[in-house]
Amino acid sequence: MIQGMIFDINKYSIHDGPGIRTTIFFKGCPGSCRWCHNPESLSPSVEILYRKDRCIECGGCLKACPNKALSITEQGVLTDSSRCRVCGKCVSACPSEARELVGRTVIVDELMDEIEKDILFYDESGGGVTISGGEPLIQPEFLIALLKKCRERNIHTTVDTMGYADPETLCRVAEYTDLFLFDIKHMDSEKHVECVGVPNKIILSNLRMLLENGYAVKVRIPVIPGINDDPENIERMGKFIVSLPAIGGVSILPYHDTATKKYIQFGIDYRMKEIKNSSSMSAEEVAEQLAKYGLDVKIGT
């Protein structure tokens, strides 16, 4: 049975495709966007999250740990990563939910049971399932198996992707996907490497390929202050998008710093801290500039 690694399932998801949806978050991503809202999605393996603010220092986790990897210090419970085997026993023992296991392996049938629970909401609203992440395309076989099953059950599917994948794989996925939400982050490849961690060439050509083959795609542009909101980049985006075959609309996703708390909880350095006040254009201005290319631009969905 093919297995996948996910880290969350979100019900009543209303900003990731049509209608009311269930969003499945795949774990693992080839990119490393500086503004990433889901830092827990980056690594493809299971991690243990610790929230000091919830910890009551009862010591339950220390007793439960078979590898003696934990100790109570001034900073709360510390994990010796050389000893931790991520078995999750400390998480089960934690009463206050200060410890959380991020990431779990699942099989398609298990996910389908969860997805089917909200079937009437999809029926009523024209919704369905969105697969997001992380990056869904790094688990292509599992992704395809899940998409096939959804198609069998007549459930609308959306894949939310950064498009950084082998074109052949993407084509196989596209065959079972009803809609792509495809991110464009920067037109300049060097800057793309700088802020996303990978070059953009294959991403842009994959987008063109999907559209040329008649697949439904909505382009999404996260507008990140000081990173991709300069008029020159937006102009290049506009020109590139109009050069593509007809797309199903462009969405502008304004930046917000709600992820800060997560970074603190994960103890990861948030690389957006210092630049958030350096925006050159607002989301509205970006939308306006893009609309000049005759594009149907919406903000926030």
């Binding site: 979100n10 009311i20 009437l120």
Partner: protein, 786 residues
């Protein structure tokens, strides 16, 4: 909003709530002089007539719809024949922090000198408490159940459309016909029927006299008025009051005034619960609206202005002052008038019309505490109607609430109404289902289901008072299985329901005998043809409800015990009970484990949702179908008002990790904060309850404003509601407000006086409700705060 509406709205909003002794003085004078001279219904009708002949008549500056119960707006009447407030009560009312009623020294003097000396020992309240059994009193004071009729009369009804085509003179004809048909030779009840019917005639006259006095005053004011526009308005008011309620209304303005006199008549006669509900106003008023528009006698904005004047009148009438447990279970100025919009017509077709939309606009503009508004949403109603309601909901006043018209109809058909009567029915008060204009559907009291579990876990003893109030169902430490525990719970439930029921039947007869609602009986079918009172089985349908509270708390508690004690075995029963007794003192990890690791209701988890169904079925099996004394039956509703705060306050800690004295869950909502999988999971869990078998359920959801952004947010909220209703769900209402705003309002109430929030089946000013309830509302899980 034009200047007139702005003025009237502000006046109503700012008027202090005061206690008026006028009604108490008049009724005392009348009783002193007349008690014992007439059959009871005739005496009650004459008492109403005496009130109508002698009370102060008030016509406010700029008003277009006239009439007040008290001598001026927000001056609240008292009903000493039911509850005679003591000086201590009046002092509490005057000084308490929340829902205060300003009581003057003169008023206290009047009570001391005139009211209390006559009524003490004679009131319904005094007699109920002296007559009922000790076991009833013990359960009552332990907080197992409450009693709705200890301070207020049975009300809970809704008027229908009949008096828009018939005036009181026409009703009198019907009454005379019924009188003529009395069969003194063969019918042993003919004498009591005659008294009832004679009373009804007098009650009609009383209302007509009351209206005529308004006509006289308006005419008088018109003659002295210098402003020609106002002069003209006063003349029309005089003519309206001369015409209605004596005759059927002839135009839109008169139709509004007609309802208002009916409303005042019923709330002057008695202090029935839920004041009075007008029913499907959009459909009753529509023919007048259409006709006046077609004849160019009325423009849309004039209709809106009249409706707004009408709306404001409700807000001038805070609930009669409640004290003691009745105040605890229903601590609000809101008197629960709830206007229905939408639904289906008697023939089953879509009932939404232009006025439905206009009324949503009125609600949006006026947004005062009262009246409540709701939409009855049928699958036959268009989405644009639902979306128009969602746009008002987005503003955050907590209304309109949304009811599933199709389920409401099915509930009524299940309980024996004809299809036509069911379609003309709807919901009133908070969430109660009833056949409008044809049914007495009486709420009789709340039942504290988690407290019954607590008593079970203590083998029949109330651990708070240390007193045995239940029966011995076994030492829980000896229970071998969850089923054994549940069987013991069912035995305790049966025990307490029996006690409640005996009390109910007794009180029901007391009202039937001593306090008939003669005027209300004129307006509810088939009191006239039966010659019987509203309080004595006169209506076509006679339903009693028991409101079950805390389904979330009891479900999660049982889930915890089932999982940790009986399945996993990691907690011993006695260890758990000890922790509960000590309020988890020194056992915080255990408490958090119970909160965080127990499968909990509200997450679409069949493990625990099936326990909810098990509890629900136990309540249904125990209560539904029991007979009342009026050839009607008992059913259950799942509704809390503010009783979940009171019920929590009489309890120790519970197995779901709830600390002692904290509120229990409200309505059928999950325990505050227990739902962690978003609104669809809450809806799925709540949808597993069999709503058709109830007379109403209440689901509260709190949404972050951002979730409703744009037309897309509105449309998705609408779809969320539609999906809930595909599970035959009864009702849902939304608080659209973020927790931060509520916390700020707690800190600086003076800046947030106008902030309205949804409490249970009604909205209230956030700053007017108790701190416990404020905290409880803040702790309800906010959907969208991710």
């Amino acid at each position: 909003m034009n200047d007139r509406i702005e003025y009237l709205r502000k006046e109503s909003y700012e008027a202090p709530v005061t206690l008026s002794t006028e009604r108490a003085e008049l009724i005392t004078e009348f009783y002193k002089e007349n008690y014992g001279k007439y059959p009871v219904p005739v005496m009650r009708a004459l008492a109403l007539k005496y009130l109508c002949e002698n009370k102060t008549i008030y016509i406010g500056k700029y008003e277009l719809i006239v009439g007040e119960r008290g001598p001026f707006p927000k001056a609240v009447s008292t009903y000493p024949e039911l509850t005679c407030h003591s000086v201590g009560d009046l002092e509490i009312l005057n000084s308490r922090e929340k829902t205060r009623y300003s009581v003057s020294n003169e008023a206290i003097k009047v009570y001391e000198d005139k009211i209390i000396p006559y009524w003490r020992g004679r009131t319904m309240r005094d007699r109920i408490f002296s007559d009922l059994s000790d076991e009833w009193k013990e359960s009552y004071t332990a907080g197992i159940f409450t009693e709705f009729m200890e301070q207020r009369a049975p009300g809970h009804t809704t008027l229908d459309g009949k008096f828009y085509s018939k005036g009181l003179y026409d009703f009198k004809e019907d009454i005379y016909e019924s009188l003529e048909g009395l069969d003194f030779k063969n019918d042993p009840d003919a004498m009591s029927k005659q008294a009832q019917l004679k009373g009804m005639v007098i009650a009609c006259d009383a209302a007509i006299i009351f209206a005529e006095r308004h006509a006289d005053l308006a005419k008088n004011m018109a003659s002295r008025e210098s402003n020609p526009r106002r002069k003209k308005e006063l003349k029309i008011i005089a003519s309206n009051c001369h015409r209605v309620p004596a005759h059927a209304p002839g135009n839109f303005w008169e139709a509004l005034q007609m309802y208002w006199f009916m409303h005042l008549g019923t709330i002057t006669e008695l202090n029935g619960w839920d004041a009075m509900n007008p029913g499907h106003l959009d459909r009753y008023f529509y023919p007048f609206y259409k006709q006046d528009l077609e004849n160019k006698k009325l423009a849309r904005d004039e209709a809106m202005e009249l409706l707004e004047c009408f709306w404001i009148k409700f807000n001038n009438h805070p609930a009669p002052p409640k004290v003691g447990i009745t105040d605890a279970e229903s601590g609000t100025y809101n008197d629960f008038t709830n206007i229905n919009i939408g639904g289906v017509l008697q023939d089953g077709s879509d009932g939404v019309n232009e006025l439905s939309y206009l009324m949503l606009e009125v609600m949006d503009e006026i947004h005062l505490l009262q009246p409540q508004g709701n939409i009855q949403l049928s699958r036959k109603n268009p989405d644009r109607f639902l979306k128009a309601a969602c746009r008002v909901i987005r503003k955050g006043y907590g209304y309109p609430s949304i009811f599933n018209a199709d389920t409401v109809i099915e509930q009524m058909i299940r309980t024996g109404k004809t299809v036509e009567d069911a379609r003309e029915g709807g919901t009133s008060g908070c969430v109660e289902t009833g056949a409008f204009g044809k049914e007495a559907y009486i709420l009789t009291g709340y039942l504290n289901t988690p407290k019954i579990l607590e008593t079970t876990l203590n083998n029949g003893v109330d651990p708070i008072k240390g007193k045995k109030i239940g029966i011995e169902t076994g030492d829980p430490g000896g229970f071998k299985s969850f089923d054994e525990l549940f069987e013991a719970f069912k035995l305790q439930l049966h025990h307490f329901v029996e006690i409640k029921m005996k009390g109910n039947q007794y009180i029901e007869r007391m009202y039937a005998e001593h306090v008939p609602a003669v005027f209300l009986s004129v307006l509810v079918d088939d009191c006239i043809s039966k010659g019987k009172d509203y309080n004595d089985g006169g209506p076509r349908y006679n339903t009693n409800y028991i409101q079950c509270v805390g389904i979330g708390t009891i479900t999660d508690s049982l889930s915890a015990i089932k999982k940790w004690v009986f399945e996993e075995g990691c907690i011993k029963m006695n260890e758990l009970l000890e922790a509960l007794r000590s309020d988890f003192e020194g056992k915080e990890p255990l408490r958090l484990m119970l909160i965080n690791k127990t499968p909990r209701y509200g997450n679409d988890d069949d493990y625990v949702d099936s326990i909810m169904q098990q509890v629900f079925n136990a309540l249904y099996d125990e209560i539904d179908g029991r007979p009342n004394t009026k050839e009607g039956k008992y059913h259950i509703v799942m509704l809390p008002t503010t009783c979940h705060i009171y019920f929590g306050s009489v309890m120790g800690a519970s197995a779901d990790g709830r600390k002692a004295k904290m509120p229990v869950s409200e309505g059928i909502s999950p325990v505050q904060g227990a739902d962690r999988n978003g609104p669809t999971a809450v809806i799925k869990s709540a949808g597993k309850m069999d709503h058709i078998k109830t007379g109403g359920t209440l689901l509260n959801m709190k949404l972050m404003p951002g979730i409703l952004d744009g037309e897309d947010g509105i449309s998705k909220l609408a779809k969320l509601v539609r999906t809930y209703f595909r599970y035959d769900a009864h009702h849902v209402q939304f608080n659209v407000i973020d927790a931060l705003t509520l916390r700020k309002a707690q800190e600086k109430p003076e800046e947030y006086r106008a902030l309205i929030v949804r409490v249970a089946g009604y909205s209230d000013y956030f700053c007017d409700i108790g701190k416990d309830l404020q905290n409880e509302i803040i702790s309800r899980t906010l959907q969208g705060e991710l």
